[in-house]
């Protein structure tokens, strides 16, 4: 085995032997060039489908068009460079209050839904992880909300929340959920949590199944209570998966559009999010202003994601890197003897 291996490819042999630093460094320059070459199609595609639109959006946000009418009532044609005019307009006068309202709504929805989803999602995962009769049925039924398209679940909840709907029948109160006001906010939170808790549940379940059974059993032998085992064993071990799930959810909620738009409607102060303002601007042919809103949202999402990663240390790529490195060394160890 070893003989054929080293004869076929002499290069990996020194690495497998324990990895002398010099040889690896010598191969680096060529390897990097090769890597860059192999990655170039991917990078090209990324530049086309991600890089270009971002830059085009940024450029668009610096221009205005179609501002006034000429004497015959036609829209004056052509672009005009406005500098940061689209941005400053967002923070002045009437539009500033609309912006901060939407900013507040976006943040409110993100905080409330993600916290609730995480709690419920982890609970769901723990239930799905138990071995009991009918587990497959429970798992499937928990996943149903996630399988329903958002627009459809928006319609379903609209039906539930209408004045003579199921929600009011259950609580025996006449709450006008879909009118513009606080109840509308709660309606959106409830529908969103219902829909996306299974997503967190699913990812956490995957994390739970990775935890070796022995760890838990050892803790039990040591006399740890169920709560202690959850807090000290399960939670730390499932944390990487949980953090990824939460990060995904946060970025999803920050650009929420479809659920409030279908459930309550557009132009409703109480549920208007930043994407909805951007959509409104674009649908009224102010693409520059819409791009400016989108850029601000882009910055906000990037900031939140960055802070989240910094504070909670969700080293997503790092974890994956460490894992592959570990797997490689293990494989090598197995291969060498």
């Amino acid at each position: 085995m070893t003989a054929t291996f080293s004869k076929k490819s002499p290069a990996p042999a020194p690495a497998a032997a324990g990895g002398p630093r010099e040889s690896r460094r010598r191969g680096d320059a060529g390897g990097r060039r090769m890597a860059a070459l192999l990655l170039s199609p991917t990078l090209l595609v990324l530049a086309l489908v991600v890089g270009y639109p971002v830059l085009a959006g940024l450029r668009e946000s610096l221009y205005v068009r179609g501002e006034g009418l000429d004497a015959d009532g036609f829209v004056v044609e052509g672009d005009r460079f406005a500098g940061l005019g689209n941005y400053t307009a967002i923070f002045s006068g009437d539009r500033a209050s609309a912006f901060w309202n939407a900013f507040g709504n976006t943040t409110f929805f993100t905080l409330t839904t993600v916290v609730l989803e995480t709690l419920i999602g982890v609970g769901m995962a723990l239930i799905m992880h138990q071995a009991f009769r009918g587990r497959a049925l429970v798992r499937a039924s928990i996943l149903v909300p996630w399988a329903i398209p958002t627009a459809i679940s928006g319609l379903l909840w609209r039906w539930i929340f209408q004045a003579d709907g199921a929600a009011n029948a259950v609580i025996r109160q006449q709450v006008l959920w879909t009118a513009d006001g606080w109840p509308a906010k709660f309606a959106v939170v409830i529908a969103e949590v219902w829909k996306t808790s299974p997503f967190i549940g699913l990812l956490v379940l995957a994390g739970l199944q990775m935890i070796p059974r022995e760890v838990n059993e050892a803790a039990r032998v040591d006399g740890a209570s169920a709560l202690q085992r959850f807090w000290w064993i399960t939670l730390p071990l499932v944390k990487p998966a949980l953090l990824v799930a939460v990060l995904f959810r946060m970025m999803d909620v920050l650009r929420m559009f479809d659920l409030p738009a279908v459930l309550i409607g557009v132009n409703q102060r109480s549920v208007e999010t930043l994407t909805m303002i951007a959509w409104f601007e674009a649908s009224n042919l102010r693409y520059g202003s819409a791009a400016a809103y989108a850029t601000i949202l882009f910055g906000y999402i990037a900031l939140i994601a960055y802070l989240f990663v910094k504070i909670l240390g969700a080293d997503i790529i790092g974890d994956a890197r460490a894992a592959t490195r570990q797997r490689k060394t293990e494989r090598r160890k197995k291969a060498t003897p």
Partner: protein, 433 residues
């Protein structure tokens, strides 16, 4: 660690991406202003319309295609939502694509499409405008030029429970608000009148609220946008109109849930027998007359023109107009097809098949039609006295501003005076010429 924000950046990109996707390809500066007299070219064309729920449209198009082998019409169906239809038509126009030829436009889009040079002006003397109701023709015009030919119309009517009014001894449907409230009080004293709401017009925060506001204000003799294109909501008439809406909600004349009811919600409410007077479109007539158990008021209601503060009120116009895209190739064929679809014969067939209100005036007096659609005389009267919604280029912004202020006024969050002052201030910059 350093690479993580990239993920956030990528996700954020999706937002930017989706926006640039709609804003993209119209960097062009000088549009070739396709002006009057450019209706040339014959050949195959397309007819772009919202989803055809009746399924009858294709038959009408087949009728045309059978006689015009070289000018075949292909129907392009857009989504059901009016705003999505508008978006797609605008995208098509900003890329100057010739894929769309004949456009089926909502009456309130005419100004925006015409001002952006997306439509060609049509010859007024060639499209049979004389046979059409004048109010509908007005919706196809922008600055005295005709850009679209009315094909279907719509106007609000007052649906009322004839059985309850008869029982309460009210002989005729109310012509004024005061008469309407008096009738409500009488019916409320009947045992059958228990739990029946008095009046409903749509006040949820959608386009319907704009329509209700325009009807209330116009009925009181006011306007939202004056003849000179300037906002006029700071007038006593406008105030009187909005006070009617706000008062009806505050005094419990309208159901408390009114702010959450859309057009279909209103229909359900009326059909459940819990509503005495309702402002509604004609489409409800046939559905509420169904005796399959879906409607509890079949045979018990009738329609009348809308009431007003001192006499009959003013309804608001809905409906659709047909226009020719400025970027279409075969504009002569397109014009002929519009003439075919808006001709008396096609309109009659369409009315029979889909019960959409025609724009042809004679059909409203046709005994055969009136027998089948008993509401036609009332509807003709409603359309005759109907007023269009504000004719402005930035209609999307104007209607959003109206909805915002009216919603607060109707809900009693802001006093009517203040809501109207706010609205006047907001509409000013949106209508500057």
């Amino acid at each position: 660690m350093r690479r993580i924000p990239l993920i956030g950046a990528l996700t954020g990109t999706v937002v930017a991406l989706s926006l640039t996707a709609c804003g993209g390809g119209d960097g062009g500066t000088a549009k070739s202003g396709a002006q009057a007299g450019a209706l040339e070219g014959r050949g195959p064309i397309t007819f772009v319309t919202g989803k055809d729920r009746s399924g009858y449209l294709q038959k009408q198009v087949d009728g045309w295609n059978a006689g015009h082998a070289n000018e075949q019409v292909r129907v392009i169906e857009l989504p059901d939502e009016p705003n999505d239809q508008r978006q797609q038509m605008i995208q098509n126009a900003t890329t100057k694509s010739d894929a769309y030829a004949v456009l089926n436009l909502d009456v309130v889009w005419t100004a925006e499409f015409a001002a952006n040079r997306w439509l060609v002006p049509l010859p007024k003397d060639q499209v049979g405008l004389d046979a059409m109701l004048p109010a509908t023709v007005a919706t196809g015009q922008y600055r005295d030029k005709l850009y679209a030919v009315p094909s279907t119309s719509d106007a609000g009517m007052l649906y009322y429970r004839k059985d309850l009014l008869d029982k309460a001894g009210v002989a005729a449907p109310p012509k004024t608000y005061a008469e309407m409230w008096a009738a409500c009080d009488k019916v409320g004293k009947l045992p059958e009148g228990k739990g029946v709401d008095c009046f409903f017009t749509e006040v949820n925060k959608t386009e319907s609220l704009t329509i209700s506001a325009v009807e209330a204000i116009e009925s009181a003799g006011g306007t939202i946008i004056g003849a000179d294109g300037r906002p006029t909501v700071n007038t006593p008439e406008a105030r009187k109109g909005v006070e009617f809406l706000a008062g009806a909600q505050k005094d419990g004349r309208m159901p408390k849930a009114a702010v959450t009811l859309d057009t279909e919600g209103g229909r359900r409410h009326f059909q459940s027998g819990k509503l005495l007077f309702q402002r509604q479109w004609p489409y409800q007539y046939g559905l509420a007359e169904k005796d399959d158990g879906s409607s509890k008021v079949a045979g018990k209601f009738a329609v009348a023109p809308l009431p007003g503060p001192n006499g009959p009120g003013a309804s608001n116009l809905g409906g659709h107009n047909l226009a020719v895209s400025a970027f279409a190739k075969n504009k002569a064929s397109a014009l002929d097809f519009i003439k075919y679809l808006t001709g008396a014969e096609s309109q009659k067939a369409n009315l029979l098949a889909t019960s959409q209100a025609p724009t042809n005036a004679a059909l409203y007096d046709d005994p055969e039609m009136v027998k089948k659609f008993p509401y036609l005389p009332v509807l003709k009267q409603a359309i005759g006295s109907a007023k269009p919604r504000p004719v402005v280029v930035k209609y999307g912004d104007v209607t959003a501003a109206i909805q915002g202020s009216m919603y607060d006024a109707v809900q009693g969050r802001t006093p009517v005076d203040q809501a109207l002052a706010d609205l006047q201030g907001k509409l000013g910059p949106l209508t500057t010429q």
